[in-house]
Every structure is written in C-alpha cells, then in structure tokens.
C-alpha cells in the first residue's frame, strides 16, 4: 500500500495536472477490480467455509443460526466403519492409479518429446483425450470394454480406469518440462560415457523431478475425488466419493461435512507441498524473477 502511494506521489510531482486527472480513473478501476476480485474469491470460498463451519455445528440440519459447537460429527465419521473402508479404498485406488500414471506417463512424455513417429499428433491427442473429455465417456467406454472382455468390475477396474483417465496430466506436465530442458546436457553426459539409463537417472530425471512429483500429486488428489469414471467401473467396493454419493441421496448428516473438512485440510497441505516441489524446477522460477 505504501509503495503504491509513493508512486502516485512521485508521478504527481513530475506532472501535476494532467496526471492527476489521468490517475483518478485508474484508481477507480483499481478499486472496482479489487472488489470484483474479492467477490470472486468470496464466491470460491464461501461454500468451503460453510462446509467447514457446519462440520462443527451441533444441529444435524445445515441451517442458520448456528446452534453450538461440537466435535461429534468428527467422532461419528471416524468411527463409521463403512466410511473408513471407503476412505481406505480410495487411498488404495489413488496410490495404484498414480503408479500407473508415472510408469506410463513418463515414457510417453519422453517419447513425445524426443522421437518422431507416424501418427504422433494423433497419438498425442489420444493420450490427453480422457483428460479433457467428460469423464463419463471414458467411463462408459471402459465399461463396454470390460463387459465385452468379461472382466468383473472391482477396485482393479477402477484403478485401470483412473490410470487411463489421469495419465494425461503427467504426460502434459512432464512433456512441458522436457520441452524447456536443454538437451545438450544429456549429450554431454553421453559423450562422457554414461549409459542411456545413467543419463536418464542422473541427468534427465533430476530436471523433470518437480514436474513428475507435482503432477503425480495432482493425479492422486483427482483420483481420490474421481466420480464419473468410478461411477461406471466400481464393483461392490465403494470409493469415498461413491460412498458420499450414496449417503447424499439418502439425506446427508454433517458427518460428511466432517470428513470433507479433513480431506480439505489434507488436500491443501498436499497442494502446497506439490506447488513447493514444482517451483523447484518449474514455471514459478520465472515468477520469482
């Protein structure tokens, strides 16, 4: 704030009349912009604040006025076995899906960055397709596939579905990072006698590590929250979103607010970690300059 006022002051001293007139309207614009930004942030945060607020409210119906502060909903959520099973299932699914994303995504990104092959553009489009396409399409397509092949729906099919739908994130991020990577370092490494794998491990990987970890964390959280694909591919075992979905339709208790609030806190921590790691080699370096 002080920086802004000294600037205007300096400008005024240089050219008093004309500038004051000109600056008058930009401050109004600035204020209008600040208000618009504030409204937007409020819109984005109000529901989350409501969600967290009502997880501590003793009334089982989410309405004002607040009736009193309680931790019962948290206790209920944590002792609800089916809910905890669903959380565990989601953790399992997300972990395996992330492994798939990395194992498939990194080589795909490397191949797209390094080699020309017939149908490359089509291939690139196809790989990111499930990521931009409504999840529902991937879901029904894979459901048709699994039923035609005769695979029973289970957590495994969910894992494969998530792996397919989310690998695009790892591919895009790692690919973008590779494009900015100076290949001469790799050539130098090869010239100095390193084997291809050594070059990858000691030279290439440290440079894309941030993108890999960051996009994996994103994939993890997205998988943890995934509905449209899971909706069609899940068997008897519920993931957390599917469990919440089933309770919402029966009428929900603040128990769900409680578990939701816990997830928000964990996600935000994960997000900050991933931003921090991505900033390590990522696009934020430019931002700091």
């Amino acid at each position: 704030m002080t920086a802004i006022s000294t600037e205007t002051g300096a400008a005024r001293r240089v050219e008093p009349r004309r500038f004051r007139f000109d600056i008058g309207s930009p401050t109004t614009t600035r204020r209008a912009l600040a208000i618009a930004a504030g409204v937007a942030l409020a819109y984005l945060w109000a529901p989350i604040v409501c969600l967290i607020l009502f997880s501590f409210n003793s009334n089982s119906i989410t309405k004002l006025p607040l009736t009193g502060w309680t931790l019962d909903w948290y206790a209920m959520a944590l002792s609800n076995e089916r809910l905890m099973d669903a959380v565990l299932n989601s953790l399992i699914v997300a972990s395996f899906a992330v492994v798939i994303c990395m194992v498939i995504g990194i080589p795909t990104a490397l191949a797209l960055d390094r080699y020309d092959f017939p149908g490359k553009t089509a291939f690139r489009r196809m790989v990111v397709l499930p990521y931009v396409l409504p999840g529902l399409i991937t879901g029904v397509a894979m459901l048709s596939f699994f039923s035609m092949v005769g695979v029973q729906l289970s957590l495994l099919t969910v894992i494969i579905g998530h792996g397919t739908a989310l690998t695009g994130i790892v591919v895009t991020n790692v690919f973008a990072r590779l494009q900015r990577f100076d290949r001469r370092i790799e050539e130098a490494s090869a010239d100095l006698g390193a084997k291809p794998f050594q070059t990858f491990w000691y030279v290439t990987f440290p440079n894309i590590r941030g993108a890999v970890i960051g996009s994996s964390l994103i994939a993890f959280t997205l998988s943890f929250d995934e509905i449209p694909v899971t909706f069609f591919l899940t068997g008897r075992d519920n993931t957390l979103p599917m469990y919440i979905w089933s309770t919402i339709r029966r009428g929900m208790t603040p128990e769900i607010n409680a578990i939701g609030s816990i997830i928000i806190v964990v996600s935000v921590v994960l997000l900050f970690v991933s931003v921090f790691i991505m900033a390590d080699d990522g696009p934020n370096k430019r931002l700091k300059k």
């Binding site: 802004i4 984005l44 498939i104 035609m148």
Partner: protein
C-alpha cells in the same frame, strides 16, 4: 557415415523400447474401449442387452426424438452460460492478480487460493450449494433470520439457474488457470509502451491486453464448456425437473434403461462435439499466436 547410421539406428531402437510399453497400454485400455463403444453404438437393442448389428437407428433417435435433442441443446446452452459466468468471475480476478498485485508472493498465494477449491471434493462442492440454496438451507435461513422474508424462498434451488451457479463455481478454477498463464506472459513492455505513446488505460486494455489474452480465454472456455456439458452429477443434485443434461441421459442408458447402444451413440456424439471444439479452439489459438509474432 556408418557411425551416423548406427546413431540413427540406436535412436530408433530407443524409440521402440520407450514407446512399446506405453503404446501397448494405450492401445488396450484407451483405444480399444473407444472402438468398442463406437461399435456398440451401431448395435441393436435386444433383451437382455443388445446384439451386434450395423444400423444408424441409435443416431437417428437422437436427432429425431425431441426427448433427446432438446436435452442435447439444453446441455450446450447450460454449458455456454456456465462458461460465460465463469469467465465474468475469472477475468477481473486474474487481471487483478497479474497486473495489480505488486508482490509476487501475495500473487502466488492468491492464485493458489483460487485453485484450492478444485481440491475440495467435487461432490461436496456441489452438495454445499444444495445446502446453501435449499428451502431449509443456509441462504433461506439467513434471509429469514435477518427478517427479509417470512417464508423460505423456493426458487433458489432445483432449476437451471442453480445448476449454472453451481457448475460455474465448480469449474471456475479451470478458467482461472489458463487465463493466469496467458496474462502473466504478456510482456509488460507492450503495456508500458502503449502508455508512453499516450494511449489511455482503457484503450490499452482493449487494444493490447485483451487481444493478447485471447488464447487463455479460448482455453478457459474450452475447458469449462466441455466439463460442464459432460457433467451429470450437479444436474441430479441441484437441477430441477427440466435440468436433465445429455450426460444424464447417457448414464441412464448405461444404468436403469439398459440401452447401451443408444447410450454409446450419444456418447460418440458428445465425443465428436468435444473433439470438434478442441480442434477449433486449437486452430484459433494458433492463429492468435501467429498474430503475436
């Protein structure tokens, strides 16, 4: 010469080694399902499921039965409103973050704050709007508490407006991300140059900042539009009787209605629409980039 060829050969072997695994994976779990879905869209429905066939009846129904094409048009309309609302929210916010916030640390924090809602369970975000807008909900109880109304207002929830508000809320981060990336890349020198030449701030915005942010706007619209058009959860939660979206129809066909061929045909149509939108926006974006020089 021979060493060069062996280098080329080594490269090719590397390419094959690197590609074969992922290619096989993508072929089996991605391409095959899409192909199967495409095939089923030509099948005929027959109890209990469907039989292999090659006929265009499923596509025919979609374009002749008003029950289906009205829903398709409605989905496109709602998706358009969602994108526009998300844009109106995102642009001032992003502009403020990029051009008005002086400290890069504060800017990054605020940016992350706009993205964080994306990491909150989608279902809970949609559901919270239900608890806000509902007749026993937060907004109504607030209005009654303050004394603005005596009876709960029922028109907040279960209509298309509620759907647009909810979905715009859910998908706004997808608008902010590309906008932020694009606005950040606009060289400040161009804006300063425009100012030095005596062009006012509004004209500078219209002639320089806005045109240069077109790629981000396009990308944002593409994301939000496609996501909104394919959503089937929000309509169930906050939409009313006339809020069925095309994705709901697909879900129903694969669920209770057990008409996979019709469901597949609709899914294929959605896929074609989405790919068309992506291709068009990609082309426009490239044209915009060329103009940049």
């Amino acid at each position: 010469m021979s060493s060069q060829r062996s280098y080329a050969q080594r490269r090719r072997m590397g390419a094959i080694a690197l590609l074969s695994g992922p290619m096989a994976w993508w072929g089996v779990v991605l391409l095959t399902p899409y192909v199967i879905m495409f095939m089923i869209s030509f099948y005929s429905r027959q109890f209990p499921l469907h039989i292999p066939d090659f006929q265009f009846g499923n596509y025919g129904i979609l374009f002749t039965d008003p029950q289906y094409y009205i829903v398709l048009l409605r989905s496109l309309k709602i998706a358009a409103f969602v994108s526009i609302l998300a844009f109106l929210i995102s642009y001032p916010l992003t502009y403020y973050l990029v051009f008005k916030v002086k400290s890069s640390r504060v800017r990054l924090m605020l940016y992350v704050a706009t993205i964080i809602p994306l990491w909150v369970s989608y279902l809970l975000r949609a559901y919270t709007w239900k608890t806000i807008l509902g007749s026993e909900g937060i907004l109504n109880s607030l209005l009654m508490w303050i004394g603005i109304t005596d009876e709960p207002v029922t028109f907040f929830l279960y209509n298309q407006t509620a759907m647009v508000i909810t979905m715009a809320y859910i998908f706004t981060p997808f608008m902010v991300m590309p906008l932020f990336a694009t606005l950040e890349k606009i060289p400040r020198s161009l804006i300063e140059g425009s100012k030095d030449l005596g062009v006012g701030p509004y004209r500078t915005f219209l002639k320089i900042t806005l045109p240069l942010s077109v790629p981000g706007i396009l990308a944002g619209f593409t994301f939000t539009f496609c996501l909104a058009a394919g959503d089937f959860i929000s309509p169930i939660l906050v939409g009313g009787p006339y809020s069925n979206m095309i994705a709901n129809v697909v879900a129903t066909q694969f669920g209770m209605a057990m008409n996979w061929p019709l469901g597949s045909a609709i899914a294929v149509v959605i896929l074609i629409i989405v790919v068309a939108i992506l291709t068009i926006s990609d082309r426009f974006e490239r044209v915009g980039r060329l103009n940049l020089g």
